[in-house]
């Protein structure tokens, strides 16, 4: 199907509308009677003038240009692109959840509070934490909340020398960015030859200035940090707290809990591990779990239960304050609660088991095609090195673009930074063996093509709605809005 290149602004005709309001007898005040003359807008914003049919077609046709989980395989490492169950959408549409105002009295949304309380308890159980707040809007926002809690904890103890946070060189970019936003200096600890945090180097870095270590376990190479108990012991002996980036929690649910490994605070990505849809980049939810020692600093309000009544607790004297308006992304929370109800204890555990099985199965097959620099097995994801493509004059990027022609979303590429030409592959538990086998077939075909006609691959993709796009030009001649 040919793509229609027109923007919504280039469609429609003057005077067309896509709405109908009730016909009412509204008092006929003049604008100047209500607002100061000089504050009345003289030029209306240039918005589209389309009817409902045009708008529906425009956006339906736009949607067809997207790859999504509902279309096919999406092994984007670190993003846990598992299937987003449809029943979650049904329940998120229940009127008694949709039509609630944040400032109606608590007594009139006890069911919503109970749902949130249920979710807090379930998440605390899954992670081995004592308390959970559902307020943060996204993973990075959870990190900001968690690191603010750590800062509040140290400050409250008068331990104000702690001005530095350690992150591994394989960490997600949000980790150092968050630490910096919380006013911390960032020090990077290197990975060792096994792809794990270099324990010795880490121990040497620990001193009275280290406020926290941010880790994800398994790490971004998909490897379990097997020194974790030693790391936590050294950290805690030094008065340093441990932050767990929950991006990779899909590997360990029901098997081991971050709280039991000694982590003091963590964020969950409900839009990854707990199946809520990513919606092209959000909204997600970055709920945060803490050990009891950090609970006094939780953001307000916190959902609590008092005998039979649920309520929002604002009385947290040492709170870090508010982190987001109202009470978190409630429409995401409903979906995550539905997922936990559906899966239950055993299902949650199976999800992680099969996620790890799928990753290892695929790893084993891909290892025959690409170098996998670290480890012999993996947790929920693994990182392959595309450097071998160099002999054909190709890069990981070319390989990724070639995958698009086969209807597969490429892995996360060029991350983590410690692997050259990285391809980070996370299949998730919801993909079948056929899908994985098919992916391996595609990889083989592309490699054959790379050998035979490398120049053709340099210009892939060919079958997508657009061909390879000029990012340099996009950044040079910045065009970030339409003008007539």
């Amino acid at each position: 199907m040919r793509r229609d290149n027109k923007l919504i602004f280039e469609k429609g005709a003057k005077g067309r509308v896509g709405y109908t309001f009730p016909d009412e007898n509204i008092p006929n005040y003049r604008l100047e009677e209500m607002i100061p003359q000089e504050q009345i807008r003289q030029i209306s914003p240039e918005l589209p003038e389309c009817n409902e049919v045009e708008v529906v077609r425009h956006f339906t046709n736009l949607s067809k240009l997207n790859h999504s989980i509902d279309n096919g395989f999406y092994p984007l490492g670190s993003c846990t692109m598992k299937y987003n169950p449809k029943i979650n959408e049904t329940v998120a549409m229940i009127s008694g959840f949709v039509n609630l105002h944040p400032y109606q009295p608590e007594s009139t949304y006890q069911g919503a509070l109970e749902l949130m309380y249920f979710l807090q308890q379930a998440l605390a159980e899954i992670s081995g934490m004592d308390e959970v707040t559902l307020q943060p809007a996204a993973g990075a926002h959870g990190e900001l909340t968690g690191m603010s809690l750590i800062r509040a904890y140290h400050d409250d103890r008068g331990d104000i020398k702690r001005n530095t946070v350690i992150v591994p060189d394989s960490a997600h970019g949000t980790n150092p960015a968050t630490a910096a936003m919380c006013g911390y200096k960032v020090k990077q600890v290197e990975s060792d030859e096994k792809g794990r945090v270099n324990l010795q180097a880490l121990k040497e870095m620990l001193n009275e200035e280290i406020a926290a270590i941010m880790l994800t376990n398994p790490n971004t190479l998909g490897l379990f940090e097997d020194d974790i108990l030693e790391i936590q012991k050294s950290a805690h002996e030094n008065g340093t707290l441990l932050y767990y980036d929950g991006a990779n929690m899909n590997a360990i649910m029901g098997k081991i809990r971050p709280g039991d490994m000694g982590f003091d605070v963590l964020h969950y990505n409900l839009h990854k591990t707990f199946s809520t849809p990513h919606g092209m980049g959000g909204p997600g939810s970055g709920a945060v779990g803490v050990k009891a020692k950090l609970a006094p600093y939780l953001p307000v309000p916190h959902v609590k239960k008092d005998e039979e009544l649920y309520y929002l607790d604002y009385n947290i004297p040492k709170t870090i304050g508010k982190i987001k308006g109202y009470y978190g992304n409630f429409n995401v929370l409903i979906r995550a609660a539905a997922y936990i109800l559906t899966m239950g204890a055993d299902g949650i555990k199976s999800a992680s088991e099969i996620a790890v099985l799928n990753a290892n199965y695929l790893r084993n097959k891909i290892a025959k095609k690409f170098k996998i620099p670290f480890g012999t097995k993996c947790m929920h994801e693994f990182v392959a090195d595309g450097s071998s493509l160099k002999k054909y004059g190709l890069k990981t990027l070319d390989f990724a673009k070639a995958l698009l022609d086969y209807g597969v979303h490429p892995p996360t590429v060029y991350f983590p930074l410690i692997v050259h030409e990285a391809m980070m592959i996370e299949p998730t538990e919801t993909e079948s063996k056929e899908t994985l086998d098919h992916f391996v077939d595609i990889v083989e075909k592309i490699l054959e093509q790379a050998e035979k006609e490398p120049d053709k691959l340099k210009k892939a993709p060919y079958t997508t709605p657009v061909r390879r796009l000029d990012e340099l030009k996009a950044n040079k001649d910045l065009d970030v809005r339409y003008t007539k």
Partner: protein, 449 residues
Amino acid sequence: MPKRYIPHTDGEIKEMLSSIGAKSIEELFQELPAEKRVSQLNLNKGLSETDVLRKMKEWSQRNADLEDYSVFLGGGIYKHLIPQSIQHIVERGEFLTAYTPYQAEVSQGSLQMFYEFQTMICEITGMDVANSSMYDGGTAAAEAMLMSFNIKKKDHYLVAESIHPEYLKIIQTYAKGPEIEIETVQYSKETGMIDLEDLKNKIKDNTAGFLMGYTNFFGIIEDVKKVREVTKEILLTVSCNPVTLGVLKAPGDYDVDIVTGEAQPFGGSLYLGGMTLGIFATKKKFMRKMPGRVIGKTTDLDGNPGYVMVLQTREQHIRRDKATSNICSNHAHNALVATIYLSLLGKAGLREVAIQSLKKAHFLAERIDRMDRYDLAFTGPFFNEFTIKSQNDPKYIRDEMIKEKVMGPLPLLEVTAKDEHEKFSLVAVTEANRMEEIAYFASRLEGLL
């Protein structure tokens, strides 16, 4: 195991294990320290679809569904009319289940939509550039504070006391890390507008900027022109309800530096305040200091137009601890809702929503002001929300109204926690309030003993 989402048969699991050379799934978890392993999670048993639906219905039935109420609550989240077609489009899996558009060639739907969204936000706010969304109005305002600090390299920041109280609290939380001093600027107890003298007096050498509401939390339309005149040396951020800009002069016309706002009213449902959409727009010269994702237009190998993420070198995945913000996921899907809403309403519709809300609010305010036991709390001009002062306790009024299936007004004290607001209530009116509802609200209010 919930077979519905996990396709593996027992036979396949065996086959896959043997392909890996493992005896059991458990073998794949051997590196986890044995002494810390968890044997059984204390969670519910997995439920069937029917039982999940039943449980969710049970919870939802313990809420007062505002579909059955007249709603006069606002405070940043508003009930507007929402065209039915929006829900049908946004539920499409291609939008709902796509990730951040890292692979532009298979994300043109998302990317073109974001470009359209950015254009609409620029048009409405009168600014040069906008990003593709933030979490909400409060965090967008906090990011504007951080951006002002980064541009000016000054660590004192002023916030109007009349801003949304939750926004102020969020800003205070965000200010702790970089140790920015937040100071509030008073409002006139008579007009409800920013006290310009107080503002002038509080601007110091190390002041980076000032944040104000337009409209403010009391519903008052601030005089941005006068504020700009006294804030020439610092960065001025205006936090808005963008619906009002269908009628009010665009902040860009006052030469403000940053515009933020809460765009839930653009087609978003109430969701207990959990379906928010932060907007963020600025001047071209500050574009590289802006947080969040920005989409730009370019061409492909065949010369056809296409869209990609631009200015990524500001962002955390490239710049790490030097990034302008740590934001990664944003509120993309809510931006889709807003883009479709604005496409359906268009030029005429946005103006119509603003004018109807304005007129209906003024009609109600006039009626209330004439009542013996109620007065308008402030004399400043207001848009579709206004503050009233009552002889009765606002909580009593609110609770009595609920009995009549009317939700609102909001006892101001509950949100501001200021004693001076003990007798104040905030009333919000939009085009969704029918004239007969408004008349009923007024008569019930008048009838309260």
